[in-house]
Every structure is written in structure tokens, then in C-alpha cells.
Symmetry: D2
Subunit: 383 residues, 4 copies
């Protein structure tokens, strides 16, 4: 498998010739089925760019897509999207430019944002492209050109993908492929803080949940000058990583009352901002109680269905909750700027690397946290 | 009762003489007990003003204060605050000026905001005086000079009250006392819209709950140019009032699926802003489902304890929830500007007027909605 | 001239057939030359709409375009744009839809914004489409699809024009064509106030310069609740119109010291916001001195070249100056919402109407203010 | 002189006893006269704190105060303020607490902001305390309790000063007195960036003028993630310091066209933000031309009187100018957070230290840049 195909792809500049070349790509079969197929290399349309995928990280939401199909299908209006290629946390090299693109050159290394809005709904017109009201309208006569690669349009578990030029961010020469693939994660953390107001210098911040987004949220918060940054979690090794990413205080919620711990670290007043990356009934309620009056909470994760929340406490204390979706407001570009300046070491959360053919194993490592796995990266060139 | 006292008070300019004069004031006895007492007329300190109360409206939260004591006591650290005077929605006439006040003159008519912050906590320093972190720190050695008249400091069910100069707003000559007393309510609605971004012209708005705040929220939203404004409620007479206050569409949630109704009025996309003035588990979940992607919700009322909320839908759709407290950001001044320009007719929600001695009856009318009561006003001069 | 052509155009639904139909359009010859030509009716591309022009107003900047060619040419890199059709303040009826457009239907009446950004520069991605950094990049290999109809792409002194769907705003049935054509002007005023913060209720506002933008700025400011609104000008008839549009105070700068007058109307403190629609050295300096500490100034007009400005006073008093371009942030949609609610009477500034063939006369009226002309409208159907 | 006095002051806790103790303080005589006097140690009033001055830096505006008297007098309504003590960039140790202060303890080290607003004007109520409309109303019957130590109330060229509690920021143990005294300067830079939007990560920034505010602006911009940061100046040694503070590019405006240089460093588009710390006609015009469309300029310095500015270019390009006054929005606290995290090395701009008696020499060094002087610090304990 693969050798001939790889041979064909050696000159990525050729790929724009319609229908000429094929690539390897993982595709959805039935729910929970993922198989390595050959697909035509996609051709970039106006304002689009063909990316040769150099690294793609496995994210928890990939597992949901593989189990349920892309979000656009969750409402059940379409059959399960067989042939769809998931994978949204990737980076690569510009391989070809569509019409109207001169912002990049072939050969440049780029990280990506997931979302490109339709450009003509109310939210897109105001810069809120991750809140595009035409989300998932990508196909046939309903194609509004919304793109969320790996969710509603083909993603990065493949050798190539097409991205809207707006989703690209240049990668500095001295940043590794693996780290650049984490820029989407860091961008999500960054987006959360942007929406909370963006001014963290001198502010008190709690991050709940030391998963990838939470750990990088610690790095971003410290980079923006927050003090103190308190990380709340339950696993000591993850908390230890948080320490290395800059957390000033660690709170193990298994060993103490996390709310009390945060309050005692803040003269009883609570913090200015809570970034909840755990998204459980318990952590959301903790977040509300950890806030000072007038504080703000970013919900970067969420429970399914209704959960019991003490919103009365939030109202009584003028607390605002921001349920964020994605990595809008150019947050990936901002995150990469901080990463390029080496303000935090994202490599700390990269634990494993596999070749493209090993994606199932990579997913297993990520899901089961085998060997302490946090971020597992697949490099398509390592077939 | 009263005659001599009233005589004494004829010249309000005399009241600054310490301990010289007395007034009538309702005070808390034990929980649920309210009695008409004589108290010394308070003396305005630096930056404070003595107000002769001309009209004071009954609010649902007054009932809570009468039952439970001021919020500062809810934590149980103090005995029930006997002697405290509730009442927070009032207006009156400047009767005396404390040191350092030259912004007003004796004899001017003023409406009030409830909150005056300590001025030296982080929130107050940034203009968020209703989120003062020294809320309720008013007494003895812990006096941080936070003031929330009718909640933590003496309020307006009396002939006189002392207000911080920051809480005053001039009342136009052609605005009645009764309407000016509703400025606090309109200010709360206004504050909600300020926090949602303030720019309503051309935006789609839902108001849930046609109580006083909800009805005036309809008036404020229309005044700011929102289109359409959809009012959701369950009582036809209240909905009818909403229509007269400017609502473009009425949705009776008893007769239809309110979420579906709102979606069908908005091309299936939902609205930009929801102001929830009902504050139940059901209405908060409706609010989340009525929002378009990227929409915002103001929680102007709230349930007690934990309620089952579908926050996942909010996160998936980048929806933000603003739990507001009070009437900050000079919202009462803004609301009065709209009322002075006759942009909405607040008199529509004023239904009954009583004298000071009739406060228990006024409360009963408000609580039991006797005779269609919405806003019941007490005029202390009508003893 | 014209009869046959008009016949051909009777069914606007046919126009999408390429090259099939022709229309009448005014076009640039040499500088200062404008002639009525036949042109092919343009075909809407993806996300575009063909508009049958029903009314187009003459604006002072049209005169500059006719004299100098479109702004993109001012840098001298291209020859004078012969064949270009100016005219940017128009409204009309949807005549055909390009691919990907289902937001409008053929036959709907629409007002327009001037600018549609490239959608892929930094400013466009953040919602600042009037500040598109690819401004004027519309042609040939440099086509970035920026559109500023009447400035850099063909405009509305014609029977038809093509607009990006993002530039359209629905017109209510009871709003006349003439008034809807003024929505761009009102939108510019609105955009200025949006950029100043958008919250005018209860704020003190000065508008300098009772030209069309200034007069509608008075209307918009009052509609948003500003109090007082002070209009400063030099012509009594224009000031009188300002009064009818809602100005609380009129200051004739020929008859008094305008700065002193504004200060005396504001207790010596100055106002919160100044909208300068005159744009002279004198008025900008007046604006700075009319502001209170912490005040803000919108520059909606401007002088050419360097002028002597007392920026030191601005810095000493923490005053900000916002030089606005166009009508961004969906300001036309917001303005139309206020106009639809009849918050101000834009018909007051519409003074004359001509047919398409009379454009030169319409321009003369507007330029020379013949017969008290303020806004002169051309209706292409009145050939 | 001095020895006995110093003896008296050994126990700073005793100073609150009224009239009991005296201190050394430099005071204004006639214009340009400064003399070392004995004064009573001031007693902190409500919400105030007595600070033992440990370090005070000389600022260019001190020279103006010494020449002209405090700003409040510039209007000529009062005689030159003999006996006034200038000096506003200081830090020290809490020596006594006034009533109502429990936020600090005696013995804590604190840096200061200059401004404390009246707390009851419109600007103060909205958190804009540096734009207090009662600026300079500090004395006699007009005392509105505005405080700008070193400008309108006694400052830090003395052994002690009284500060409003709101102006204090804790100093970390490992930050030297000299550096903490520079926090006001860094706070001014920080305030500028806050007003420009606060989100610098990934944004392009120019700083013009490598004086103390400009050099620390480079440090703050890099700390917040700006990339690139371009420093424009004329002296190579100062540019070199800018490099050490993090500037990515240096532009010597004597050796090239600074506008062209900035444009060539930014693909011809210009930068997002310009911080002008030079404040000349030339640099302000450069700033306007260095901005991209939609860019923003902070004027942190200013020329006197009218200067020729090309505001037309600003309006045509939707450029905003922010004339900032002071160090509002808790900017000193934010700056100290970045300094505490060692994001930039403020010690680079501290060049000389003198004792209190040597203030005239310190001023001479600062004014004449003797021996490469940038920031000259006086330490009152080094008599």
C-alpha cells in the first residue's frame, strides 16, 4: 500500500491538475468505522489553499465524529456521512493556491483554524466566523461555503486537505510540526480568554481541568500576565504538567474542597476569571462559586443534556458565562504569536507520534491515555 | 399618629441639625413583621444627600427582605436586622446636602439607583459599582461604605432616606412621581441591555416574562430600535400591556411551544438577544434555544438552588449568559433619558397608589396581584 | 434614446442571461465629463445580486469621483477610469440572484451599503469590512473582490447595478424610495455613533455641520436617546431643519463663540461626544474644546492636507478621535431600523427629484444648493 | 538639618498622631525654585494611607510643574502654589492607615498610581478616574477629593506622602525600590495599550520615541505578545536599549524615511497600532502614515498648541487616535504583574540614583541626560 501513491505525490505543485492525482485518507464507514482509502486530492477553489498535511493531532471530539458522523448530521436529516475524512488539529505545507490567493506561497508552513464562515450571514459579517449561522451548510444547493474541516468538511487524517485562506497562520521556522499542530488547541484556550475580555495581566485566573485545552490555557494565561493562575484537577501528573506550564497554584479537587481552596488563595474573594475545561455539572458549579462578584466564566467544555446549575448564585453576583465554540477572533494566530515567543512550552503536552497508517493506534492511545498519552500526533509522511 | 411629626418636618432644610427631628419609617421587627415607627431623620455624611421620599414602589424583592432580613444577613452571621427600613424603588426631593456635594440643590426632584459601591474595591474602581466586592459591608468597624438602600442600608418605606450622590438622577418636571419611582425598574432592564452590548437598533430581541422588569424591557428595547421585539408570557392581560409598550409579537407560552414560535418568527434562526425576566428552569432553557448562534442571554431573574440547564447547547452555539445584578453602569440615568423623551409609557405598569400608613395593603396588592396590580406605589405624603 | 432599451428591460428576471440585455448608465469620460451611455446589464456572480436602481441620491463625494476618478486611481497607478459609473447612495429592487444567494427574493426592495470587503484580509475577518486592506483591489489579476460601488466598482447612476449580498438591507413597505436612498447617509451617521461606543441614551452630544450627514446624525442621536443634542452650524435654515430632526439646542457659530455656547449649555464641562460633520481646521479644534475630559470625537468629514490641530488639549484631557470611513458594522441596517420605527423624519432633507437623464442638473442643484437643495434624488425610471 | 528629624521618624507607626512629627520635603518657592523644607507629616484621612517614600524617579513633567506650578494653576485662577511638593513617580512602604483601610498593612511595600478621582463625577463612576471632571478640585470649599500627587496634591520628593488606597499596588519582594518607582511609567505605557484594545498578541506595533515611556512600551508590547514590535527613534544608544527590551526591528529616523521603513517591514500595509511617545508634529503624522487601514494610534505625548496634522488621511483610512492622560484602568497594577513575571527588564532604563538632598542634581542629570541618564531615582533615605 502506498508506495506508488507516494511517488505520485512527490511534486505537490502538480496537484492542481484536476483529477490527476490520488492520496491516502482515512474515511468514515459506518459509525465507529474508520478505514484508510484512496481519494482524489482536492482542488482548491477561489480563496482556498491545498495543504500537504505534515502533522495532525488526535482530539477527543474526533472520537465523537467517528462515532456519530459530523455535527451537521447529528440532527438526523442526512444519512451517516460515509467517505468523510475527520481530523481537525493539523498543520502542513502549502501545496497549491486557488484563485485569488496571494497571501501565501507554495512551500510555506502553516497551522490552521478549523472554521471558515460563509462570509454572508450576520455573524460572519461581524467577524464571528465560528458562530456562522450557516454552520454545516456545505453541500449541494445548500452550499453556503461554511467550512469546519474535520467536522463538516473533510479534515486532516489524510495526506492533503483544502483550507480557506482565512484559516491559515504562518508557522515560524523553529517551531516543530508537532507543536504547530497543537496551535488549534492553544487557539481555543486563547479564544476563551479573548472573549472574557482579553486583559489578563494582573488578573486572578482559575483553570479547571488539566486536559490539553486546560493545560494550554494555563500557558496562555501566564503568557498574558495573569497572576495568580490556579489549576484545578484530579490527576497529580497532569497538575505537575500545569506547574511546568506556569500555574502558580495547584489544587487537587480529590484531596480538598476546590472552591474553598481557591477562595483561601484569594483572600476569600474568588478570582476574576474561570476557564472551565472539564465541563461537568460539578465543575461548572465550582466555577460559579470560585468567581468573585463581577467575575466571568468561560465554558470551554460542556456536559450533554440538562445539568443542575446554580445560576441564581451567578445572577446574585453579576457573573457572566461564555460558552465558546471553536477558536474564533483569529485566536490561533494570537496563540502562535505567544508560542513563537516561547512564552509557554506546548511540547510538554505532546506525548506520542505515529504514522498515518497507525491512526487507529494513535486514537487508542489518546482515548485510553496509554503510557500517559496527552496529545498524540500523526505524521502522514511516516506512512 | 403622625400629625405632630409631620408638622416638625415642614421645613426639610432644618433636618441636618443632628438629632433634632424625627420621621415616620416602616421597620423590620421579626421575620415577616413590619411596623410603622418613629426614627431620627438621618444626617447626610460626606458625598451624601438627604432625600424626602415622594414615591416608593413595592418590588417582589421587598417581600424577601421582609421575610429574611437584608441580604447581608442571609449568611447568618448577624441576628435578624430589627429596626431596618426596606424599600428601594423610590424617588423624592433633595432635602439637605452632605459635605462635598454641590451637584444638586435642595428642592430638586431626583430618582435613585439602589447601589453605591465602596469606591475602593477592584470592581468599584472599574465602574462596576453594583458588583462591589464589599457588598453589605456597611456597619461598625467593617463599614466599607457600600450602600444598597433597602437591602443593606435603610431604604425608602419612610419619609426620608440618605443617598450617596452617585445614586441620584434628576427627574424632568413633566415626569410624575409615580413614574420616576419606576426608574429603578426601567434601569434594571436598561442595565441588562447595556451588558448585552447596548446596540439594539435593528437587532432581534425576545423578552421572557411580562412582570415589571420584562414589560419595561420591552419598552427599552423598542426605544433603542430593536426589531422585532417578541414578548413571551402566559397571561393575556400582561401580554396586552407588552403590546402597548411596543412589542412587535406576543407569544403565549401556555398556548404554543414558545421556542418554536420564536424560531418561526425569525426564519428558523432565533434571535440575537434574550432577556429572561422570569428566571425559571423552563424559561432559561427556552432562552438558550431561542438564541441564534452567537446570541446572548441576560438573566434578569433567577431560580433558587440548582436547576437543570442545557449548557451544552449554549456552548455548542457560542451563546453567552449574563447574570445581572441591579442597575449598574448608570443605567437608571439612561432609562430616565428614554422615559423623558417619552419613548415608552411607564405609567402603563403603575396600577395603584397608597399612603405611607397603607404599606401593608400596598404589599398585599402587589403580592396577590389584587385588582390587576402590577406596580403599586406608596406616597409617604399621603399619610 | 432609451425607448427600445426600456422595452427590453421590462422583465428584469431575464437579465441574468449573459450579454443579452443593455441598460442606460452614466459613465466617466475624461475628468469632469459624464455621459449617458448604454452598457451591458451586469451579471451577478457568486454571493451577488442584481439591483434595479429605483432611486439614487447625489452626494458631495460623487463630485470628487467625477473630477478625479475613483479613489483607487488617485495614487496615479492607473489611467483615468473611463467608462466607470459613479453613484453610491441608492436603493432599488432585487432583479436577479447570483449563485449562493437565497437571503433575498427577486422583487424585494433593498437599500444598500457601499462597501463589501474582500473577506480575506485581517480587517474583513474581524468584521471591519469598510477598512478592508484590499480597498480598490477589484480588477484583473489583483481582483480581491473588494467592492465600493460608485467608488471603485460601478455604482448607481444607472438602471442596474450589481451588489454583494452583504451590502443589502430590506426596505419596509411604507418607506419611500427617496428616503431609502438616504439610508447610506443615515448609516454613516450611525456608524460614527457605533464607533463612539453606541450608548447614547442620556449622553450629551454635539453635532457640528448641518449637512446631510450632520442633520441625520441629529436624528440618529435623538433616536438613541442622547440628551441634549446640540447642533452647531452657520446657516439658519439648516439649523432649523436640525431642530425639526430633534436637536435640543441650536448654536449659530457665526453669531457666537460656539465652544463657549456649548460649554455654557453643559455646566462648563463640555459634552461626552462630538460628531464633526464639517471637517475643517476650525471645527475639529472646536470639537476638541467642546469635549469634556474623557470625551470622544467622531471625524465624519475631513480637511485635505495638514491642518493646525491642538492635539495637546486632546491628550491632556484623555480625548479620543475616531476618523470614520463609510458605514461599517451594519450601520445602514441599524439606521433603517430607526427610520422604519419613524424615530426621525429623513424626508426633511430630501428636497428635489429628477429623472435619470437629468443627472447633470441634479448634480448642479446639489453642488450649488439651488432652491435650498440638500439631498437631490435621481429616479432612473423617470427617464 | 535632618538628623534629629530622621530620628523622630524611626517609628513610622507614630506618625498618625496629629501634628506630632515633621519630615523633609522639597517645596516650590517661586517658579523654578525648589527648596528642601520641613513640613508636617501628613495624616491619612478616610481611605488614605501614609507612605514612607523609598524611591522617587524624576520625570520630564516634574520640570514643568517646577516651572509653572501644578496644572490646576495653569489657568491662572490661583497664585503660584508656594509650598507645594512635586514628584509623582514613587514607591514606598505603608507607614500608617487612615480610617476604612484594611486592604494593606503597615510595612508593606507599594508602588503608586498618580491619580485618584473624586469618585462622584460621571467619569469616575464609570471607572475613568484619570479623566475625573473634577481634576484639580482639591482645596477649600471646592475640595472634590481629586488627587494627582505631584501635580495637584503633594507628591513624592519628600520623606512621606499620603495616597488614596486606590492608588496603591503591592510590590513583590524581589523587585527593587528603583524598579518599582518606574511602575508609573510602565503603567502609562500599559494604559495606552489597554485603550487601544489590550489584545496585542500577534499584532504589529510601532513605538515612536525611545524615552522612558517608549522604551517600556516596547517591553510591555512584547510582553503582551505583539509581533513585530518596531521601535522608531533617532539616538542609537536608546534604540539599542529598545532592542534589549524586546524590539524586533529598530528604525533610526535620522538615517531613513521612517514611514517607508515601517511599511517595508509590514508588506506595505502598515501596522495595527502605533504608540507615539515623542509627540511632535512630525511623529504624529508619521504615526498616521504607519498605520494600516483600521489601525489605531495612541498619543502618549503631545506638542503644545496647534500643529499641522493630516487628519484627512486618518479619516480616509478609518484610523483612530487615543490621546491618553495618565495611567488609568489599573494599568500600574497590570504593568507590575508583567514586571513581577520578569517579562521585561525595567532596570535597563534606570541609570542613576541620588539621595534626597541631591534632588537638584538628579533633576539636572535627567534634564540634560548627563552621563547617558534616562531614569534618575532619588532615594529619600539616602539623605
Amino acid at each position: 500500500m502506498g508506495d506508488t501513491l507516494v511517488e505520485e505525490l512527490k511534486n505537490p505543485l502538480e496537484v492542481a491538475a484536476p483529477l490527476a492525482k490520488r492520496m491516502l485518507a482515512w474515511t468514515l464507514g459506518n459509525p465507529h468505522e474508520l478505514r484508510l482509502d484512496q481519494k482524489q486530492i482536492p482542488v482548491p477553489d477561489r480563496s482556498e489553499v491545498l495543504i500537504r498535511i505534515d502533522a495532525v493531532a488526535v482530539c477527543a471530539t474526533d472520537l465523537e465524529v467517528i462515532a456519530q458522523g459530523p455535527p451537521a448530521l447529528i440532527n438526523g436529516t442526512l444519512p451517516f456521512n460515509q467517505g468523510f475524512t475527520p481530523g481537525h488539529e493539523y498543520m502542513g505545507t502549502v501545496a497549491a493556491l486557488g484563485p485569488g490567493v496571494d497571501e501565501y506561497k507554495v512551500g510555506e508552513r502553516v497551522a490552521v483554524e478549523i472554521h471558515s464562515g460563509c462570509g454572508q450571514c450576520k455573524r460572519c459579517r461581524s467577524g464571528m466566523y465560528t458562530s456562522c449561522t450557516n454552520y454545516g451548510q456545505n453541500y449541494g444547493e445548500h452550499d453556503k461555503r461554511h467550512r469546519a474541516n474535520g467536522f463538516t468538511t473533510n479534515g486532516g487524517f489524510a495526506q492533503y486537505a483544502v483550507n480557506h485562506v482565512n484559516t491559515l497562520v504562518r508557522v515560524p521556522d523553529d517551531m516543530s510540526d508537532e507543536v504547530a499542530a497543537l496551535a488549534v488547541t492553544a487557539g481555543t484556550s486563547m479564544y476563551g480568554f479573548i472573549e472574557l475580555g482579553g486583559l489578563l495581566a494582573g488578573e486572578k485566573v482559575v483553570v479547571i481541568g488539566p486536559g490539553p485545552i486546560g493545560l494550554l490555557a494555563v500557558g496562555v494565561a501566564k503568557a498574558l500576565g495573569a497572576a495568580p493562575v490556579i489549576l484545578v484537577g484530579t490527576r497529580e501528573n497532569r497538575l505537575g504538567l500545569g506547574k511546568r506550564l506556569g500555574a502558580d497554584h495547584l489544587v487537587n479537587a480529590k484531596l480538598c474542597d476546590a472552591v474553598e481552596a481557591v477562595r483561601s488563595l484569594t483572600d476569600g474573594k474568588g478570582v476574576d476569571y474561570v476557564m472551565d475545561c472539564a465541563g461537568t455539572e460539578e465543575t461548572i458549579n465550582q466555577a460559579i462559586l470560585m468567581c468573585s462578584r463581577g467575575g466571568k466564566i468561560c465554558l470551554a467544555a460542556f456536559p450533554h443534556g440538562r445539568v443542575g446549575i446554580d445560576l441564581g448564585h451567578a445572577v446574585m453576583n453579576n457573573i457572566y458565562l461564555y460558552g465558546i465554540r471553536g477558536e474564533g477572533k483569529s485566536a490561533v494566530a494570537r496563540a502562535i504569536a505567544l508560542m513563537a515567543a516561547k512564552r509557554f512550552d506546548a511540547t510538554l503536552i505532546h506525548t506520542h507520534t505515529f504514522g498515518l497508517a497507525e491512526l487507529p493506534k494513535a486514537i487508542q492511545y489518546a482515548r485510553e491515555r496509554i503510557d500517559g498519552a496527552i496529545k498524540v500526533v500523526v505524521k502522514p509522511h511516516l506512512l
